[in-house]
């Protein structure tokens, strides 16, 4: 009975001392200690922290964010920086895990950084919104689309539209194209997929479209979607909303859906971006016709802003930027504009600048203002895939700026 107590108190000792050591080591070697306030501007440098999923299953998005941010910062610094100060980026990896995201956030804030750009996914971002509000640190997420991430009077803003908008556009598109009965196939285990299903469902009710068949999959690792689409065929719907990511659309969903006999429209959301890179070479790719999705921007858009960005990105990194890159790029410029308006890097001042609903931001993903909760009121592009059988390309269909009334 006695030995165990001894062990415990030793454990307690170790706990306290080792944790203190561990954290001390990492902070003394970090940037200048800031006690209390979280401003990190000296006359020479402005530091912005970024959080992105550099490892884990969404590493592609992490790379998209870090490359676009680097490009934007390079351009800004070359043009003289913000208010004369050069911009520095400190990146932290959230590994697509909410706990690690919180750790990354805490580590950045403890280094005295008051302006943070991140994270990429809704699940991770919602883990740090409350911490951002409590620590009074600005949080600008380029691509987290879950509705409730931004609320009024808070420190959280975003550069993209919310899920309720995306799901509703799909429902409006269905109505507009004349479909009164639709089906849905979604992933029950994924925040993004489920959120889009919910908003699509709600919008369908509003527009008077019947959701006749709903099927789901247990995880993002499922390979076979044939049974789900077979039940869509059985229900007789000609429009299916399937909000998944690019890594299952290309190789699995579209081919299996067609093979199951489903010949109607398949519509998705911004997760479909970069699908043409993930299709089966040598297969009959004409199955990709009649596939639509909503996205934040279209790289083939001929406007000057978009083309300048696309060309600069391709010159520096050798590949076409995807929507996440475009959003991250815009987010950096949003910070630039807010810092210039506020005249300082104090997070509260920047926050007030961002909360100003009259400020207009012009970016690659459109010209927009933020609404009272911090979400941009911007349009979404509807893009479709076309294929001649051997290659899949994207075709711009429409831009939807506002949702139609019921």
């Amino acid at each position: 009975m006695n030995k165990k107590l001894a062990c415990l108190l030793l454990a307690a000792c170790m706990l306290v001392s080792l944790a203190a050591c561990g954290s001390g080591a990492s902070t003394t070697s970090a940037a200048p200690e800031a006690s209390g306030d979280a401003g990190a501007a000296t006359g020479e440098e402005i530091t912005i922290g970024t959080i992105s999923p550099n490892t884990g299953s969404l590493a592609a998005y992490g790379a998209a964010v870090t490359t676009a941010v680097d490009l934007a910062v390079e351009q800004i610094n070359a043009a003289g920086g913000i208010n004369g100060s050069q911009v520095k980026i400190v990146n932290a990896d959230d590994q697509f895990d909410p706990t690690e995201c919180l750790n990354a956030f805490n580590s950045l804030v403890s280094q005295g950084i008051g302006l943070i750009l991140g994270s990429v996914t809704s699940g991770c971002t919602s883990a740090i919104t409350d911490a951002a509000n409590e620590e009074q640190v600005c949080l600008l997420t380029p691509s987290a689309t879950a509705d409730s991430i931004t609320t009024a009077d808070d420190y959280v803003f975003r550069a993209c539209y919310a899920d309720s908008f995306q799901g509703a556009i799909a429902a409006a598109y269905a109505k507009q194209s004349g479909y009164t009965e639709v089906g849905v196939v979604y992933c029950a285990a994924d925040t993004y997929s489920k959120g889009l299903y919910d908003s699509f469902n709600a919008a369908c009710e509003k527009y008077g479209v019947t959701v006749k068949a709903v099927e789901s999959t247990a995880s993002l690792d499922v390979q076979d979607y044939t049974n789900q689409f077979a039940s869509m065929v059985k229900a007789g719907v000609q429009f299916v909303y399937a909000p998944y990511y690019y890594d299952v659309i290309g190789p699995y969903i579209v081919t299996q859906a067609r093979a199951a006999g489903y010949k109607g429209i398949i519509m998705g959301a911004d997760g479909y971006d970069t699908t043409p890179d993930y299709v089966v070479d040598g297969a009959d790719l004409s199955v990709f016709n009649d596939v639509y999705y909503t996205n934040h921007y279209d790289p083939s858009d001929t406007s000057e802003t978009v083309q300048a960005f696309v060309k600069a990105y391709e010159a520096k990194f050798g590949s076409t930027p995807n929507a996440i890159s475009a959003l991250a790029y815009d987010a950096v410029y949003m910070y630039k504009q807010a810092i210039e308006t506020a005249g300082s890097v104090d997070p509260t001042a920047v926050r007030d600048a961002l909360a100003d609903t009259t400020a207009v931001y012009t970016g690659v993903t459109g010209t927009f203002s933020l609404d009272s909760t911090g979400t941009p009121a911007k349009g979404a592009s509807i893009i479709s895939f076309t294929s001649d059988g051997t290659k899949v390309t994207t075709k711009f269909v429409d831009v939807v700026k506002e949702l139609p009334a019921a």
């Binding site: 080792l18 954290s23 919602s126 911490a131 409730s148 285990a189």
Partner: protein, 382 residues
């Protein structure tokens, strides 16, 4: 012996009290600093539930000798149970905000309920699963871990929409159990006390007849059963007991995070809540030594933290840098190295004890002297 026991109690109580007082003093002086708030306290919370997880898995893996890969499933149950009960209490008006005394009662109640619920599920899982041994048990528990996560996903009030979408997570934070940065500092003593209590219970278990029985079962199940030990009873009891602690650890996890997402508990998660990571912790510390599990949990946590956020890691380039970008790779290598060269782990079956420290040091010195003498003799004989 009675004197010795009393002496042991006194020494231990005094030292624990001293440590807790020392910690409060530390907290008082450092309390306002950013480092303390943002780094030390969240780290302390994470260490607490990791320690409980590692020690409780050691009960099954080290002392009972059965590999159970579903530990994170029980943690998930505990976390969701605690979070949902606290939200329900808040909505029913039992407490208004975190500073009211009613909240403290709800907190304790949630932690207990989380443990009990996880224990119940552990019982249900253990009864069929523990009829099997070795490899089959590992797969079955792995399967159960996956099933539990799958079921939570499909529950309408939990799952993806319940507790990880923004609005629900905001409620968890503001209204329910989730602690923000400031609350974490105020309530950190709860985490420490809960961890200490859990460790006391585990040590008592090991020192009692239950501990002796399961060690006998580990060595030779048939001989144990022939000696009159009811092996099924002890195996299932240990499994349930360890699931209880996993549930408590889950409740602490729910406190420390404002959102809960089932992807954190899934087997394919690359982060530190992976069941495999916990197995690494237990093996590294020593299967059969609770002290070892505690120490290795802390070491692994610090290692994980340094890999993620340490600045020296960011300056590594090339393949080494790429390797550290995948912490799981580092842990897999550690596991293989430990298993091959020191399968007993760092501590083997040694348990640290303040009371016996002088005796242990004397024994160690005697052993080393004996080895040296033996070597000298062997050299002289050649």
């Amino acid at each position: 012996m009675k004197n010795r026991t009393a002496k042991g109690y006194i020494i231990n109580t005094v030292v624990i009290a001293a440590v807790l007082i020392g910690f409060s003093v530390l907290k008082g002086s450092l309390g306002g600093s950013q480092t303390f708030k943002l780094i030390l306290v969240p780290s302390l919370w994470q260490c607490c539930y990791l320690i409980i997880l590692a020690a409780s898995l050691n009960l099954v893996l080290g002392f009972l000798g059965q590999l159970s890969l579903g530990h994170c499933g029980f943690m998930a149950i505990g976390a969701y149970a605690a979070a949902l009960i606290s939200l329900a209490c808040e909505r029913a008006g039992v407490f208004a905000d975190k500073s009211s005394p009613a909240f403290f009662l709800v907190l304790i109640g949630c932690i207990l309920a989380a443990g009990i619920l996880a224990a119940l599920v552990g019982l249900l899982v253990g009864i069929p699963a523990l009829r099997l041994k070795g490899d089959y048990l590992a797969i079955i528990t792995l399967g159960f871990g996956m099933i539990i996560v799958n079921i939570i996903n499909n529950l309408p009030f939990a799952g993806q929409e319940g507790l990880s979408m923004g609005s629900a997570s905001a409620s968890l934070y503001k209204n329910g159990l989730g602690f923000g940065t400031a609350s974490k500092v105020t309530f950190v003593w709860v985490a420490i006390i809960v961890t200490l209590v859990c460790l006391v219970m585990m040590f008592m278990f090991i020192r009692s007849k239950y501990g002796r029985a399961i060690r006998a079962i580990r060595e030779d199940e048939i001989a144990a059963s022939a000696s009159g030990i009811n092996t099924s009873y002890y195996k299932i009891f240990t499994f349930t007991y360890s699931a209880f602690f996993a549930g408590v650890a889950g409740a602490l996890y729910a406190c420390a995070n404002a959102t809960l997402s089932t992807s954190s508990f899934a087997f394919t998660n690359g982060g530190i809540l992976n069941s495999t990571f916990i197995v690494v912790m237990v093996v590294l510390g020593g299967m059969g030594s609770l002290t070892g599990s505690i120490i290795s949990a802390i070491i692994m946590f610090i290692l994980n933290y340094q890999i993620k956020n340490g600045l020296w890691v960011k300056s590594l380039t090339g393949f080494l840098g790429g390797m550290f970008a995948y912490p799981m790779l580092v842990y897999a290598i550690i596991l293989i190295v430990v298993i091959m060269f020191r399968p007993m782990g760092i501590f083997g079956t040694y348990e640290f004890s303040l009371l016996n420290i002088s005796r242990d040091i004397k024994n160690y010195r005697a052993k080393k002297a004996l080895q040296k003498a033996g070597k000298k003799e062997a050299d002289a004989n050649e």
